[in-house]
């Protein structure tokens, strides 16, 4: 059998994990585990958040190396979990390379496990929960839920216009901050801070910051620095959106 073919499932497994928010060490472990199970020698993998390198030695002694550029998308833990399951099955000898390739292609083409409607609802639940955790009451929770759902719905609309990403983040934080300010000018009982922080929570880079610290503590400096830069950029954009909303509100005399 042509061993060069074995590069494809290894690359696809690494790409799927990295694209969907998996850790760099998981990419490296999965690729090496699958490669060894395929009977390859000297399997090596090096992953950074923007790319995956895979290398192994063929039976004739030649070295096969492949570099893959990865564009990170939204986090999809289901996908990462499924790829991990495939690699375990390969390791256990339940799947050969063709079976692994088919399974990975099926995962790649799988529909989103959380359709947009469910994600909008989840944003609302999430924002309401965090608003209460931050000291808000029932009304604050309701307002945060509405703001969270609206932000997610706007995100979906912007995604359709291919404006997803940084601009969506900026606009989302603008909206999430403006809504509680406006609501407070109508009813003074709203706790702006709790509502805004609750609605902003899905956008805040706290998780990316935590991953950056975890990666750095594990010794993955490149990945740690990359996550940290991403977190700082995200925080800057969220801050920009929130600042713009507060400024617009003040300029309008606090009555919009």
């Amino acid at each position: 059998m042509d061993q060069k073919k074995l590069m494809e499932p290894l690359k696809l497994a690494g790409k799927l994990i990295m694209e969907n928010g998996g850790e760099t060490y998981r990419v490296e472990e999965t690729v090496c585990r699958m490669g060894k199970a395929f009977g390859l020698r000297e399997v090596e993998s090096f992953a950074v958040p923007s790319g995956v390198f895979v290398s192994f030695q063929c039976e004739d002694g030649s070295i096969q190396t492949s570099v893959l550029r990865v564009h990170r998308g939204e986090t999809n833990l289901s996908c990462v979990n499924e790829v991990n399951e495939v690699s375990r099955e390969v390791e256990a000898g339940k799947l050969d390379w063709q079976g692994a390739w088919d399974a990975l292609k099926a995962i790649e083409q799988e529909a989103d496990p959380a359709p947009q409607g469910i994600r909008i609802l989840a944003s609302g639940i999430c924002a309401a929960g965090f608003a209460v955790m931050f000291g808000g009451g029932r009304l604050d929770a309701l307002l945060a839920a509405a703001a969270g759902m609206l932000v997610q719905a706007m995100n979906a609309l912007m995604e359709r216009q291919h404006l997803h990403g940084l601009s969506a983040l900026l606009f989302g934080s603008f909206l999430a901050t403006l809504i509680p300010h406006c609501a407070r000018s109508l009813y003074a009982g709203f706790l702006v801070e709790a509502v805004a922080a609750g609605a902003l929570m899905p956008m805040l880079p706290g998780l990316a910051m935590t991953n950056a610290v975890s990666d750095t503590l594990r010794g993955d400096m490149v990945s740690g620095m990359s996550h940290f830069s991403q977190a700082v950029l995200t925080a800057g954009l969220v801050a920009g959106g929130a600042l713009a909303a507060a400024t617009v509100f003040r300029m309008a005399g606090g009555i919009i």
Binding site: L77, C79, E193, M201, T210, V238
Partner: protein, 146 residues
């Protein structure tokens, strides 16, 4: 106190559940992972309310979340990332980061820096809690198997 604890448990459960969907965790893990997140956050809140410092409480809560998460991940044959991530989302200092950004935006640099450092300390404690939880889990599991 009990009523407040119940409110904290339910609200952190809702927050974690929302994140479980947004991060597209496997559906069968939504409820157990949200329970772990809510339990870990409730422990943090109780310790903090009992007088323990903020950072120590966060460390204890995230360590417990990491331990429970990894136990469940093993039981449910899922990657630990799913449970580890969802166990700590409630600890992420969203309010601290928001305050930091707002204070900077208002030009109150000193107060903003203080809020930012506080948030950063929480983040480091979360990461340490996960690290120690993972280490303890592996140590106990390896000893158990040996």
């Amino acid at each position: 106190m009990l009523r407040e604890l119940l409110i904290i448990f339910l609200s952190s459960f809702a927050g974690t559940l929302g994140f479980a969907v947004l991060l597209r965790a496997p559906r069968r893990t939504w409820i157990p992972a949200s329970l772990v997140g809510a339990l870990a956050f409730s422990v943090y809140w109780s310790l903090n309310a009992a007088g323990l410092s903020e950072v120590t409480s966060i460390f204890c809560g995230s360590m417990l979340g990491s331990l429970l998460g990894q136990l469940l991940a093993r039981g449910m044959k899922t990657i630990a990332t799913v449970f580890n991530t969802l166990a700590i989302v409630a600890f992420v200092p969203g309010l601290g980061l928001y305050r930091c950004m707002e204070l900077f935006a208002r030009g109150e640099m000193e107060a903003g820096a203080r809020a930012g450092i506080g948030a950063m300390m929480s983040i480091v404690m979360i990461a340490l809690g996960i690290g120690v939880g993972t280490f303890l889990f592996r140590a106990v599991f390896v000893r158990h198997r040996a």
